[in-house]
Symmetry: C4
Subunit: 205 residues, 4 copies
Amino acid sequence: MAEKETGRVEAFSDGVFAIAITLLILEIKVPKLSHDISPAALAAALLDLWPSYVAFLLSFFAILIMWINHHGLFNMVRRVNPGFLYANGFLLLLVSFVPFPTSVLADYLDGRALNTAAAFYCGTFIFISIGYNLIWQCMVRGDLLQHGISTAHVRKITLAYRYGMAVYVLATITALFSGYAGLGMNLSLWVLWAVLGYRPSPTAS
Amino acid sequence: MAEKETGRVEAFSDGVFAIAITLLILEIKVPKLSHDISPAALAAALLDLWPSYVAFLLSFFAILIMWINHHGLFNMVRRVNPGFLYANGFLLLLVSFVPFPTSVLADYLDGRALNTAAAFYCGTFIFISIGYNLIWQCMVRGDLLQHGISTAHVRKITLAYRYGMAVYVLATITALFSGYAGLGMNLSLWVLWAVLGYRPSPTAS
Amino acid sequence: MAEKETGRVEAFSDGVFAIAITLLILEIKVPKLSHDISPAALAAALLDLWPSYVAFLLSFFAILIMWINHHGLFNMVRRVNPGFLYANGFLLLLVSFVPFPTSVLADYLDGRALNTAAAFYCGTFIFISIGYNLIWQCMVRGDLLQHGISTAHVRKITLAYRYGMAVYVLATITALFSGYAGLGMNLSLWVLWAVLGYRPSPTAS
Amino acid sequence: MAEKETGRVEAFSDGVFAIAITLLILEIKVPKLSHDISPAALAAALLDLWPSYVAFLLSFFAILIMWINHHGLFNMVRRVNPGFLYANGFLLLLVSFVPFPTSVLADYLDGRALNTAAAFYCGTFIFISIGYNLIWQCMVRGDLLQHGISTAHVRKITLAYRYGMAVYVLATITALFSGYAGLGMNLSLWVLWAVLGYRPSPTAS
């Protein structure tokens, strides 16, 4: 039963991740121009959408990394409890929210309000980070972990999540003064995780 | 065969729940402002979207609770029959409908027509409640329940569903006079279910 | 391998059905009225959307019936071949197309162009019917059926699919002269299938 | 563990494919005409949408072929590694991007800027082809292949992917001068794959 339970929560979560990541494309709007625009003018209009492409790439990468991370967490779970279900639900709420700040970023990345858009975007990831921390605390305190995971490994992951949250807070504050710098900090963290092959599970590499 | 059948219906239902919950975000529209808006003006515009955030949070929470509840019902099912399939289809119809009243609520939550929007929103949940009651009656009368579930437990769940429907009816009537009070009643019911760890299945806690 | 293959095609198809059925709601647009509209005016505006509700209900019911039918077909499949994959792909193309004629119907159901919208809607189901016939022919001629299905049963299903196609053709022609009559014929067919518990599989009831 | 890992990546990928293919329909917009348009005028307006239908059909077919191909690749995978996960993530990024060039194509297929729209569309498939090549290189170099796949077969697939990329590059260049010719080249390649029953896996036909 426990395994089936975990499997169904995992499948539902994967569904939300997959839908959120695929909905991102809806934020890139086809330029509404005269039907008789010249080929060169359409090419220019497509290039002018660069803020939308940047926002799309950034969020796609972020959700992909989060999915891999989520994947790693579930590999360490032996069973689920109500607290875990709600912490996971809180995380899914935020994952499904990501297309909105992405859209805001796409619209204002090359405008005067860049810093606000970037801070709003980075700030979303503070909440996402809180979500991951909540899930992880539920797992550790609720005795949901697979057997045979060392205390040292648990401590390492706890620290990694706290470090992640600190970077997001810093990035959000930075973004208020320089949007690009804030976004760059977020991106650096994700690249770091991808390059280091960061994954919570000791069994999944 | 029976188990595969149940599994496929469950997977399809989970798909609809996951898509409906993720589509909610499409209702939050990026404020269409001048591209050269100031950072402070964008921040103000994002704050002005609070009715959209409230509606999004409310409906995300509602669908999540419904999914967990649905989950619990399916854990009690031994096999499916056509009546069950159509009752479940009726419920999925309503789940997929939720983004629309959510969107109406988001648009009119801070306007003069709040009560109408709130009653429309609460009224949707009366139908959802009818859906759950139908599924549950199909399970009980069609002998679809897992073996070993006590009559007392069945009666308890029957009462819980009836109680839920009564609250939704009351909330809808209340909303006609005070939108916030009606919404608050809906929310209280959901919080109660979440806090009590309300789940139909005796095996799933 | 064969079973895994079948399972993956089934899961992909279920995904398309679940997404198409859930996307239908996006066709119901929140009435864009003055923010300070009165409660009664909003209620009137919500009632005025009845063509959208009708189109939504009709298509939700149609896709649900189609999914149950598809479900029944896959229960009879032992293995898949390329022809079957492409016939199934053709069907999924049409399933994913359904939200468009639904939207056309919603917009013109109460206008002068009703007959065109209804014929377009009904005509879509002729193609869907061709899709089911193709899948079924692939199954029968390609020796993809489970063992132990009698020739009489195969003939019965072949006839049922041909009968369905004939009704859709007739409904489309009728709709050109009376939109409501055409839609009514489609609906009657679906209700008939639902009431008779029509399902291709002999093992799935 | 390895098998569960592969299965979860496969399910997530299938989700993205299924959502992207179903979102294509959102690009076909209902013609916004006077509510009192005549039946003949609505019929004409629906026919006028032919560029949207062509783009929809083209992209649906392309994503379906890609999914079958992806399917074949995963049938050859024994286990996954981080490089494979990111190469697959890159491919999914592009799959989820397809609705955008499809939409651009639908808007400009019958306009002066056709060549730009077609080249943008064909160019997307160069990147998709790079994605498949990356996944395949990860599989071959990272020792992720099922045992018992001959070197000759591996070489054949490597060549097929390189050939595909060459056709896409050529099609994109051609599209700059003749949009229809470029699109025709893409389509020919997909038809060829479908007709030849092209699939990487030796075990899946």
